[in-house]
């Protein structure tokens, strides 16, 4: 039987996306730290799913990332609503702290090439949703003629 190894994961931004990931990954048994500039954001963490730590602060500041123990992180997911913050924090995680796997939420698919160049995996929810809708449209047999 294979089982996922518990990883040390930092989630930056505790909005809908960040909190969803933090709750889910913590519930799966990973060690999760969530960073958000606003304490208020942590209300999206669900008590019986999330058992990790919360750090309040600006994730583009190294002191804040160090408080989240970024030097021992296996994964950083940068998922705030500001793609520039996400790319900056991801860049610090990758370049300064050599975090093995770094994800950044972006809004503009055109920034994907830049992220790739610095070793950061981009996730653009709008593009993914659009592709999912197009796939749903195309997979309908009624949509195909021979």
């Amino acid at each position: 039987m294979t089982r996922a190894r518990s990883q040390y994961i930092i989630v930056i931004g505790c909005g809908r996306l960040g909190s969803f990931l933090a709750n889910r990954l913590s519930n799966e048994g990973h060690s999760v730290v969530v960073v958000d500039i606003s304490l208020h954001a942590f209300h999206l963490l669900i008590a019986d799913q999330f058992s990790g730590f919360r750090v309040e602060g600006d994730a583009t500041e190294q002191a804040v990332l160090l408080q989240a123990k970024i030097d021992k992180a296996d994964v950083v997911i940068s998922a705030t609503h500001d793609e520039n913050v996400n790319i900056m924090a991801a860049q610090i995680a990758k370049k300064r702290f050599h975090v093995p796997r770094v994800f950044a939420r972006i809004l503009d698919p055109k920034k994907e090439n830049y992220c790739k160049a610095i070793g950061v995996k981009c996730v653009c929810p709008t593009s993914i949703a659009a592709e999912a809708m197009i796939a749903a449209l195309h997979n309908n047999p009624a949509n195909i003629i021979v």
Copy 2:
């Protein structure tokens, strides 16, 4: 050889998601009408991709939907930034005009059951992005121990 039949598609909301879909589906040869409450939003339509029509107006008003010829639509995609508008427009499309396939962008995955009950397919970009990130994390062989 199979080929996609050209469909009559109404896209409501011309933000990032709506404009992406409108450009792509028009470019694929479908007849696309885009509805947005603000004329300014149409600047995201790309001239050499989008050859459809633009309708300015509130898509929760039947008069606006009729102007977009909803009575002959094969597909309606409701993709504004306001999930209540999306659900309302989708509901009108489904219940009043019997549009065969209706999609609504939602923000809160908890609304999915309501949408399903009225025959509307929900797309929640945040959930899809989160699932994509989790799949990427899990599919990494380094993440698995025997």
